[in-house]
């Protein structure tokens, strides 16, 4: 009888479902008012430009109606033009090198810093270190690039130190080989502390009893980091890993543009700066959009792959 009752209950629930949904809307539609302005904003400023990618398949001139059938449709011509571009290989390599080198240094560093900070016995000392480490994050890219020119210029601080130690000075911005180290070093200098916050927040959730028990069992500090702290932040690490792989090909143009000089352009021209120059500077809208689209598609593919493999390996994923 009991099971029959359950069954009955189930069917009635199923019948109720559509009406229930409707009543949820009727009951809670006011909640939508809180978010509708944001939805409208995102629609205009994020989705309308997505629609605009159709000009990647057009020979578009300002004033053209991008959605009309009479638009100058050219198929994949803009893409094949990019693949045949004499700088194509250079652009891909430069973009990829910058992001992959930045990732190799920049991904583990905040994790290590968070583990070290968290292992300090004095909470006060840990807080002081954190306060110091976060500060450079708030420096603007313009000031950051300006600082690099000041410190690494021909008569800058670094050369002064080198000369005082008996070496001879050079202008680092006139050396192509120094662009990547400078870019990556300064990026990490600004953000290693800031990026560690997310791991510190995860570490704050570790049950202190685990550590106490491990101490009683005679585990060393290093052992406790390895067996308690590290597993605790693993889900966070997985999520951050997916996100950074999904952004591997999207090195921001803002800082690169500021650090470009005639001398380092062979390594500092990346996809996004190229898009800016031929699009905004050169007015070749269709071509620039095609390159940008090519870049985002790579990113999406990387993201999906990263998400799938992380889910397989660790059970963590962002969707």
């Amino acid at each position: 009888m009991n099971s029959a009752h359950l069954l009955e209950d189930n069917t009635s629930k199923e019948q109720l479902k559509p009406r229930k949904k409707q009543s949820n809307f009727r009951k809670n539609w006011k909640l939508l008012i809180f978010i509708i302005p944001t939805i409208v904003y995102i629609f205009i400023f994020a989705y309308l430009p997505m629609y605009g990618v159709v000009i990647a398949f057009q020979d578009f001139a300002p004033g053209d109606d991008m959605l009309s059938l009479n638009a100058n449709w050219v198929g994949f011509a803009n893409f094949t033009r990019f693949f045949n571009e004499f700088r194509f290989k250079q652009l891909i390599v430069n973009t990829f090198m910058l992001s992959i080198l930045g990732f190799i240094v920049g991904f583990p560093l905040p994790i290590i810093v968070a583990l070290l900070l968290n292992s300090l016995k004095s909470k006060k000392a840990s807080n002081i270190f954190q306060r110091i480490f976060y500060a450079p994050h708030f420096i603007s890219v313009v000031v950051m690039a300006g600082m690099l020119y000041l410190f690494f210029g021909e008569y800058g601080l670094v050369n002064n130190i080198v000369r005082a130690l008996g070496g001879s000075g050079t202008s680092y911005f006139l050396k192509a080989s120094m662009f990547r180290p400078l870019f990556i070093f300064s990026g990490n200098w600004q953000d290693f502390g800031w990026s560690s916050i997310i791991y510190l927040a995860a570490l704050a959730g570790v049950d202190p009893h685990l550590h106490e028990a491990a101490i009683v069992d005679g585990a060393s500090r290093v052992r406790r980091i390895w067996s308690i702290d590290l597993p605790a932040i693993l889900p966070t690490v997985a999520v951050m890993l997916i996100l950074s792989i999904g952004n591997l090909m999207s090195v921001g143009h803002e800082k690169v543009l500021l650090m470009q000089t005639g001398a380092n352009i062979s390594v500092s021209e990346i996809i996004s700066t190229f898009v800016y120059k031929i699009g905004i500077g050169g007015g070749q809208y269709g071509y620039a959009t095609a390159i940008g689209l090519f870049n985002s598609v790579i990113n999406v593919v990387l993201l999906v792959i990263a998400n799938l493999s992380t889910r397989k390996l660790t059970g963590n994923s962002i969707w």
Binding site: F45, P49, I132, S140, G146, Y155, W189, V275, Y276, A288
Partner: protein, 305 residues
């Protein structure tokens, strides 16, 4: 007996093995080294901005200012664009941040409510924009179509909401507003809007502080939107003016002129650069410690689902 247990526990805490001692020495060494690497360049800019440019040039200034002078600041303040840039940036930051908050806090609140209609669809609608976009050119064309090019309003309206921040706010509300509290308010006859205003917002102060910091710093520091959308100097924000002082001058000065005039000019230019970095960073230096303690409220991952 309890005392004895406590004693034993304490002994365990106190007595480090040799391995642990080596670990702590190593950790402190690394952290102090990192702190020095972070602090020294910043400290150097401060002392360089008030030192005699010849002393800096000759490599005499390392740890403290020499022959203190405020010429760099005087020259900087003679530059009218610094003043207008400063004022413009303050306006863009204040109104832009207010606009950001309007689009972020209520949206985060709505998403944190389990009974929000179409919650999943809305979440996906927003998440997609984090990973895919039309790119620079379609964005530029859209802004042009909206008549926002050469229009200072663009500096307030563009970048109106960061989806990431909406999710941060959402997860803050999910963790910190107990549903019983809301139910109680609604039993007392508070509607959605009144309970948001009188119950939720007062509890949201930490996350609002963090959002103000994130957005305000973003406005204060941004230069690229202004670079592509503004052409009239009188609307230029501070960062664009700084860009001219710090970078454009640097890149162009590498050509032309005799060696000596270049060096003399470089000395003066550098002094202005050091002081411009200080002047442009002061508001953030003042603001940052006030909000610092709230940071952790803003960092909870796993808020996608």
């Amino acid at each position: 007996m309890v005392e004895a247990v406590k004693m034993r526990k304490r002994r365990h805490w106190r007595k480090d093995t040799i391995g642990d001692r080596i670990y702590y020495i190593f950790t402190w060494f690394i952290l102090i080294l990192l702190a020095a690497i972070v602090i020294y360049p910043l400290y150097f800019i401060v002392i360089a901005s008030i030192s005699n440019p010849d002393a800096i040039f000759n490599g005499e200034v390392y740890f403290y200012p020499l022959k203190i002078t405020f010429d760099g600041y005087k020259r900087l303040f003679d530059e009218p664009l610094i003043w207008s840039g400063y004022l413009n940036t303050i306006i863009y930051t204040v109104f832009g941040t207010a606009f950001n908050l309007l689009l972020t806090i209520p949206a985060g609140w709505a998403l944190s409510r389990k009974n929000l209609p179409f919650r999943r669809v809305i979440t996906w609608f927003m998440v997609i924009t984090m990973f895919f976009g039309g790119g620079l050119i379609p964005y530029y064309l859209l802004v042009a179509k909206l008549n926002l090019v050469d229009n200072p309003l663009s500096m307030i309206i563009l970048g109106g909401v960061s989806v990431w921040n909406v999710f941060v706010v959402k997860s803050y509300f999910t963790e910190n507003i107990p549903s019983e509290l809301l139910e109680a308010a609604q039993i007392d006859g508070c509607g959605e809007f009144r309970s948001f205003w009188h119950v939720v917002l007062p509890l949201a102060k930490p996350i609002i502080a963090v959002m103000v910091l994130f957005y305000a710093v973003g406005h204060w520091n941004s230069y690229f939107d202004a670079l592509i959308f503004l052409s009239d100097e009188k609307y230029f924000p501070l960062q664009l003016v700084l860009r001219d002082i710090l970078i454009t001058a640097e890149v162009t000065s590498q050509s032309g002129g005799s060696a000596e005039t270049i060096i003399e000019q470089a000395k003066i230019a550098n002094q202005i650069k050091y002081s411009s970095i200080i002047v442009s960073s002061i508001p953030i230096l003042v603001f940052y410690p006030l909000v610092q303690k709230f940071f952790k409220a803003g960092f909870l991952v796993g808020s996608f689902k």
